[in-house]
Each structure stands twice: as C-alpha cells, then as structure tokens.
Subunit: 291 residues, 2 copies
Amino acid sequence: MKLIETRVAIIGLGLMGGSLARALQGNVASLIGVDINPISLDYARGLDIFDHLSPDSAEGLRRCDLAILALPVRGILDLIARINRDLPAPPYLMDLGSTKKAITRSMQALPGEVNPIGGHPLCGKETAGIQASEADIFQGSTFVLTPLARTSPACLSLAEELAASIGARPLVMDAEEHDRMLAITSHLPYLVSVTLTKTAIEAEGPDRLLRELIASGFIDTTRIAASDVRMISDVLLTNRVHLLQALRHFSGNAETLANLIENGSPDALCEGLMPIQRWRQGIQKHAFEEA
Amino acid sequence: MKLIETRVAIIGLGLMGGSLARALQGNVASLIGVDINPISLDYARGLDIFDHLSPDSAEGLRRCDLAILALPVRGILDLIARINRDLPAPPYLMDLGSTKKAITRSMQALPGEVNPIGGHPLCGKETAGIQASEADIFQGSTFVLTPLARTSPACLSLAEELAASIGARPLVMDAEEHDRMLAITSHLPYLVSVTLTKTAIEAEGPDRLLRELIASGFIDTTRIAASDVRMISDVLLTNRVHLLQALRHFSGNAETLANLIENGSPDALCEGLMPIQRWRQGIQKHAFEEA
C-alpha cells in the first residue's frame, strides 16, 4: 500500500498528532482526526486539513487504513487494550509513544488482521497541544520504527514511506534496545534536569536572590524540566528499569568526578574533563551539520 | 572617580576581557589591553579599540587607574600574589572571576594603596577567546560585585557605574554567599551536564547508534559540557566545598525521585513533578520577559 492511497486516522490531536497531520497533508488519501477534547477538535477544524474529525476513536479506527496513536504512552496502551476487546481493528496500526517495549508487547495481542508497528519520532517542544503544532517539527529528525515479528514487510514499508514523507530519517530497531538507549539520551536527561531544578528550588530563599544568579547554563540544563508532566510520567514509568539503571551509572560517574574535584590535582581534573568536552563538541558539530 | 575619566587596563584578552573592552569603548578615558598570547594581542590590535596593547602585565598595571583581571580564577590569584610581591599596584583593582571567596580573600593582602573589589558578570558562551567576543554579551545580565571591608565607597561606585555602562544590572553581595548560590545555579549544572555526557559516552557502542537517538533534550542538557575545561576546572576547584555540598543535595533529590518512579503511583509521580515544572516555567517566563 502506497502512502498516497492510504486513509490515515490520527488518534490524539496534541503537539505530535497535530504536527503529523500538518506534515502529512497532501501526501495521503484522506486524514481523519480524533480527540476527546472539544477544544482540540475545534482547533483542528480551523486548520482545514482534516477530511473528517470526531471525538470517537471507534469512528476513526473503522474508517481508516492506517491508525496512528498519538497519545501519551498510557493512553496508547489503553487504546490497544480496547481494540483487543471491542473497538474496530484497523488494517495498519502505528503509535508515536516515547517508549516502545511496553507498547509493542501489548501490540502482540492484537487481532490477527491488524498489522502493528511501533514508531517514535525524536522531536518535540516544551509546549504541548495542537496549538503548538508545526509541520516541520520532524525535518531532519530520527523516526524510530520498531516492527514486531508479526509486522508484514508491507507495513514496515508504509511506515518508512510515512517517516520519509515528513522529512524524518526512518531508523528500524529493536524495541528493547530503543528503550535502553532512550533512557540515556532522553529520560535520564529529563530526570537530571528535574532534579537540578528541585535542588535550586530548595536553595532559593524568600528573597528570591537565587533567580538573579541564574545564567544561560542553568536555563539550558533545566529546560526540559518544564516538559508536560502527564506525558513524561508515562514515559518514566514504562521505562523505569532502564532509567533507574542509567541513573545508577550517572551516580557512579558523579562520584568519580566529585572525587577528582575533592582530591585530584588541577591537571588530573582537566585530563578527566577533556575527553568529555571533546565528545560533546563533536555532537554539537554533528547536530550543526545536520541542521 | 567617574568612569569617563578612568584609564582602564584589561588584563587577559579572552572572551570576557575582549567583550568588556568592546562594551567599554567610548565610556572610559583610555583602554589598555594585556595578554601574553601574541595571537590574542594581534586580534585585539585589529579591533582598533585599544589605546595601548602589551604582553606585559606590569605595563598595564602601571599605566591605569583601574585594572580589571579577566583571567581564569587561578590566573587571577597568581596575578594578585605577584602584585603583593613586586608588580605595580593600581589604584583600583577588579576581577571577573567566576568564584569570589578565594579571590577576595587573596585581595585582602594587597598593598594599602590598592582599592580592590570582586566582580562576576553572569554571562558567557561555550566559545572561548577574544575571537568570540561581543559588546552586547552583558546586556540584561546580572553583574555581581563583592566588596571587601577595605573597599572604598568610591571604588564600589566606580564598579557599579562600569556594570551599568555595559548594560548589566550591578548586584552587590557577599563573596561567600555568591559562591554558595553559584554552586547551585552554575557549577552544579556544569557538573551534572558533564556527568550526563560521560554516561552517554560509556553507553555508546562502536556502531554510534546512540548518536542517532539524541534529540533536543540531550543537546540542551549537555550544552555546557562543551565549556572551556581550563577555565571551568579553576572554578570547580576554588568552590569545591559548596559544589560538593550541592551535589549531595542533588543526589538526595535524585534518590527521592527514583523512589517515586520505582514505587510510586502515576498520580504520586505527577504530584511530585508538577511543582518543579511550574517553578521552571516561571523562570522561563521571567527570562523571556527580561529578553
């Protein structure tokens, strides 16, 4: 099945669902949008890119070839469970959840006629909601695809075409491996950012002097602590094993660096920091070249 | 003494010294620049804003009313020690070091004719060197001033005028309090950023797959890990007591959050994260309003 012949239903019209709809416009046979929130539905109607909008998941699932679940992780798990019970089963089913193991595991129980695949576009903003959606949010970003053993080549191919059509680089990988890596590159940074913010809150006196002493380093390092809590808490909870293991590695590394600061010579400290600085500068350059 | 009548020597022509020279241009009687690095001196000459340039600190100190030490913290401590021994003593002496207690303590031993004051403009970039200098780097930022008991009102007043003249907000505070606060708002964020980067380096396999899975959260959270190592290691070492205490608070908070993730209900986790998100959103708004 080609993307241009595919009737797509996007279930969940938030930042990701809304952005995907904008990016897919013109590349698909039709676009159905589903959200239980009337404000989001109204906003979606104003965009004038959907062929049909509904508050009812069943309607979206029934009228599409490919259903894309663009909900927080627990919302995705709930909807898959409801398809397993009584909701209509679409021919193709993809999700955009930020963790993949729990979701692909639940996809294994889907009715035999469904072709499921996990998806995770690595992009986002601190601002939630369809009001913040943008078509080009996916441009140049990685779009992870985690097929199941039961996923057909046609389903994987459709998912790859979809990712490429919105300007992302499809990357096929194992769901477990995805979660282990993302614990390091995304969930641990969030946890660290939140912990840093909490530490600052506790150090802030009633005079709020601390706020005068915040410079760009703190602003950058704590930016993701402002992320949507409902969305991220699902992520932390469905990847807790990998995340807590990553935190243990982090804590061990913090102790090593603290020892260097407490007992090491200035030269030893510099030698410890240099390779980290160089690696990070390489990432910066890479990201810049990609931009 | 008014700023416009003041002959200023800037010792150390890196990012901060160079930016300060650009920002002070036209607001002072004359500008002398000192750096032992011939490349920095050549670059400074090309800017055409200095009345005199020299590789010799003694020359700068002898020919100025106000000497500003814009070196890494250990360089500042070395130069103060040399003034205490045999270098010419300027009437007014200020530094731009990122920690203040060790520096103001060493300033106490300066000859009686010197009027010393600690300074710390809270701004910067990851890129070091006079080549990256900009006049407007100080605009809207806080410029901390830490007077000693021996600092005259005239010296404090000159320092405040200088800070205001380059677009910064002067903030007078105690050196110890500065270091305790900056441990939270600057040095701990650096340490956390470096630790996060080290953790990612260790998780990266030979296939470099991890780099494909880096999104904006990791980029923001680790940005300051690319900072100049020589500069920052001086900062960490001269503020190690406050920094290691801040790290202990951070580790305790990380453990609390890890327990919520491991054992808490989704609602308990959200309730724990919400006030942190709200505080951080307030900071963001504040920074935005200031910009």
